[in-house]
Amino acid sequence: MADPDVKAILFNIFGGITRCDDVAKGILTALEQLNVNVPVVVRLTGTNEDIARRLLSQAKGVEAAETMDAAVKAALAHAAGRRG
């Protein structure tokens, strides 16, 4: 968040050893503790992805994407100011 050039943040996680619910909790903790004022796009697939999506659906300013390509397009659109 210290970099003014960052217009959107994209998380792309395909969980192998990584558990998606752990990742989601980490993202939520970060959003709580930091002043994140740019859109966040999260794509999570893999271990415990359903729990992860449920956790993230409660957060404001977070868009959940189903596929990597969709997530990249969403993040680019946010960065270009085409989405609110």
């Binding site: 395909f14 192998g16 697939t45 990597m68 390509d69």
Partner: protein, 290 residues
Amino acid sequence: MSILIDQGTKVIVQGITGRDGAFHTQGMLEYGTQVVAGVTPGRGGSATHGVPVYDSVAEARAATGAGTSVIYVPAPFAADAVYEAVDAGIKFVVCITEGIPVNDMIEIYGAVERSSSRLLGPNCPGLISPGKAKVGILPGPIHKQGPVGVVSRSGTLTYQVVDYLTRADIGQSTCVGIGGDPIIGTNFLDVLEAFEADPETRAVVLIGEIGGTDEQEAARFIKSSMKTPVVGFIAGRTAPPGKRMGHAGAIISGGGGTAAEKTAALNEVGVPVAKIPSEIPDLVARALKG
């Protein structure tokens, strides 16, 4: 057929009583892998997920006759774990552990080269022969048995590509993650050679990334020694020079090791290279049609 592992492979888990070791032992057992023994010094005589634990690899090997081991030991002890496996006569050692110092790896590399053992990794997801066995941490359910070999320097990117292939109804013979460190055991050439010799593998996906010259060497090997068609992908097309991209070995240094160079080297020997991972299934389908 498949390469390196199948339903007959007997596996010893080094570090089986640790958090990651125990978790992934369960995953391997659920996938149907023959996990016959675990090793944690001082914990001999106990059991993890019903797998008997021994104090040393030598004991575990003597009791079970296993020829493969997988290492989930924390980085400070992982080098010793590799030596122990090689000393005990394990023929195929898969090291998942990330963070082994390069200095240690230089010595390990030499020791493995002088032995008759093969090392996969470190800092790798292991490998899977779908429907037969997995040794490592790859998510089993995304895979499907079939004719395509996959070899990759990146774990997560492998899963992504395999997921695309499976969704396109293209199965895999064996998927091998060789690891993202600057010094690794088994490299692209070793795996390509094995795929070329496997009658079940009818096409290969090679997933490379910036840094080093492994993909260029793979291109030379494909030209000189392979009839099986290969499809490529190189991660890091937009990577800025001098910046490490996730893996210790993924760095454009001295202007060398760029995605453009690697793509050109592969294209030159007739290997199509996908610009984004989602293009891979189409390229593979074309390769399979010949």
